[in-house]
């Protein structure tokens, strides 16, 4: 019998962490595979998560492939499915199928400096890359992580960031002045210019709101990063995740299969349909 590509596995919500609050709150879910099956993934890949009766949503796998016991997902409360996730409890059983999409070419980055630039919920797709890089830090040069949020309360993975400080150069920012804030005040692209990481033998990986990505890329170019040295991910509405339902294309590429990871050199050749 052919594998049924639409039939999800059963996942169990093993932990829920509240990351940020407000209208578009974010929660991070640890998902285990109680039936023992599961799947391997690479950094940057996604999975279709579902709450039966509500539907499916494509979500980046936010944990490193080195973590085998569970997979982690950070979900922003948006509509039907994501709200159902925000209403879910530890122990709830959900649907999960994947992994989908391409991945960051980390094998090509051996010996290079890695500069990560994230904003808001846009940390999730690059978080597994950061985690994997610091766990295998001997493979890479210097690791720098820029991350900005609207306010200090909107910073994701707060506890993990504390641990990360010892392993990488962490540069946090908040958009507006705040009492007691020790990091940079201002937008992420400005913080990037302020610290001006060197493009020599380096790769920059950025993810966040489209407007942030736009200015980050402009600034990276000013710093001397070539288009081939810049990586990002893109998002389009998805239903199938496997290049059949026809909605997520940018030009000839279905983002669910050929993306979501692109170098800027590749992305700038595609039509602006994302």
């Amino acid at each position: 019998m052919m594998d049924n590509i639409y039939l999800p596995q059963v996942g169990r919500i093993a932990g829920i962490e509240e990351e940020t609050q407000g209208a578009r709150a974010i929660k991070t879910f640890k998902v285990e595979f109680p039936n023992g099956d599961g799947f391997e993934h690479a950094c940057g890949q996604c999975a279709m998560l579902s709450i039966f009766g509500r539907g499916e949503s494509m979500i980046s796998i936010a944990s490193s492939p080195l973590v085998k016991d569970y997979k982690q997902f950070s979900i922003m409360k948006m509509g039907r499915v994501t709200t159902a996730f925000h209403d879910a409890q530890v122990g709830d059983l959900i649907g999960i199928r994947g992994p989908y999409g391409n991945h960051f070419p980390m094998a090509d980055w051996k010996g290079k400096d890695l500069v990560f630039i994230g904003g808001g919920v846009g940390l999730a797709p690059i978080w597994p890359v950061i985690q994997t890089a610091v766990a295998q830090s001997s493979h890479y040069g210097k690791i720098t992580v820029f991350y900005g949020a609207r306010t200090s309360r909107d910073i994701m993975y707060k506890a993990d960031f504390e641990r990360l400080r010892g392993l990488a150069d962490v540069q946090l920012s908040v958009d507006a002045p705040e009492q007691g804030w020790q990091g940079y005040t201002g937008f992420v692209p400005a913080n990037l210019m302020d610290k001006a990481p060197s493009p020599d033998n380096a790769i920059a990986i950025t993810c966040g709101p489209p407007i942030m990505i736009k200015f980050v890329i402009q600034n990276l170019q000013k710093l001397g990063f070539a288009d081939e040295q810049i990586y990002t991910t893109i998002e389009n509405k998805m239903k199938c995740g496997i290049g059949k339902c026809g909605r997520c294309n940018v030009g000839k590429d279905y983002v669910c299969v050929k993306g979501p990871v692109y170098s800027w050199a590749e992305l700038k050749t595609l039509p602006q349909e994302y």
Binding site: V10, F52, G53, G55, L93, K239, V250
Partner: protein, 342 residues
């Protein structure tokens, strides 16, 4: 295998297909559409073309993927509903629809094989009928590399020779369907062969809509990505979606959960449509194809640029349905012509 079947014997052939589901065009509510043929029933192959395309036999408008049942906090019970259809023989398939199927096969294969599509597809035998005359003034099969007697995608090709049909098996599946009624057929003689060739040659001379240089279209579309032509040509579009629903190669779909009771329901695939505004609209409200022009550009580019880049062939077989049935007169041939000139 090439045979002759007198018209009175068509019924005998159909009668020998026991165990199979048989479908043929039927005229009802002033249109032709495929309908099941009762055992021993008559079939009438005097149709122009069916309004709906043959794709629905492998890719129905609604397909249940699985049923689920889950009490609050409990374990979900999932029951996959991959179909197990009887062998199905479809008569009267026009060559444009026949050519649609191998294109759909590509989509539902690739890295991920679609079990629902293939469960139906593998049981499907397509008996085509050559078009001695174009079935509509919007036919353009020859302009997109096909022909009124194309065998591509068909298992059998029948050609109407007045009082009899010339019947040619294209695939082993087609030969098998013919062998079921071996007695009903006669050998095709030299005169029959000559007659088929004459009829086919004549059919190729019938008027069709020209679209110019097919090979130049992908580049023309690329050059015109930001052209105002799309918005101009799409301005009357009401987003009804009939162009894609009737298309033999449009395959876009939606997936939704539908409740069937308390704590239970079905995950369902339904046809979707790139001309609908919410097809690509993110939950945030951002929509990469936010206007009619962008959506028309997508429909045309998918068929004449992206599919060509990915699969080396057009995703259009020239049936003309999207032109004939569009309530506001949007005409893909005219769009290609405009884009080619811009």
């Amino acid at each position: 295998m090439e045979k002759i079947l007198s018209k009175e014997k068509l019924r005998e052939w159909v009668g020998k297909l026991d165990g199979c589901e048989v479908h043929a065009p039927a005229f009802a509510d002033s249109v032709w559409n495929y309908a099941p043929v009762q055992t021993g029933g008559d079939i009438d192959l005097s149709h122009t073309n069916t309004v709906g395309s043959v794709k629905a036999f492998a890719f129905p408008q609604r397909e249940v993927f699985f049923r689920f049942e889950q009490a609050k906090g409990g374990a979900p019970v999932l029951t996959a509903t991959v179909p197990e259809p009887r062998p199905t023989v479809v008569f009267g398939v026009r060559p444009c629809d026949g050519r649609g199927m191998p294109r759909n096969d590509k989509v539902f294969s690739a890295e991920f094989k679609d079990p629902y599509y293939w469960a139906r597809r593998e049981k499907l035998t397509l008996v085509g009928l050559a078009c001695n005359e174009p079935h509509s003034p919007n036919c353009f099969c020859q302009s997109v590399g096909g022909s009124p007697h194309s065998e591509e995608g068909l298992d059998v090709l029948m050609t109407d020779l007045g009082d009899r049909y010339h019947v040619k098996a294209i695939t082993p599946k087609g030969a098998e369907a013919m062998e079921r009624a071996g007695d009903a057929f006669n050998e095709a003689g030299a005169a029959d062969q000559a007659e088929v060739e004459r009829v086919h040659a004549e059919s190729r001379q019938q008027p069709q809509r020209p679209i110019g240089d097919l090979a130049a279209i992908p580049e023309a579309i690329k050059q015109n990505f930001d052209s105002p032509v799309w918005a101009e040509m799409a301005q009357h579009c009401i987003g009804c979606g009939i162009c894609t629903f009737l298309c033999p190669t449009c395959h876009c779909f939606d997936i939704n959960d539908e409740a069937t009771g308390a704590n239970k329901g079905e995950r369902v695939r339904t046809w979707d449509n790139c001309q609908f505004p919410d097809f690509t609209m993110h939950t945030s409200g951002h929509n990469p194809r936010h206007d009619l022009g962008a959506r028309l550009r997508q429909r045309v580019s998918h068929k004449f640029l992206y599919f060509v880049e990915n699969h080396k062939t057009q995703q259009c077989t020239g049936c003309g349905r999207c032109i004939s049935e569009c309530p506001v007169g949007i005409d893909i041939v005219a769009v290609l012509e405009r884009v080619g000139q811009s």
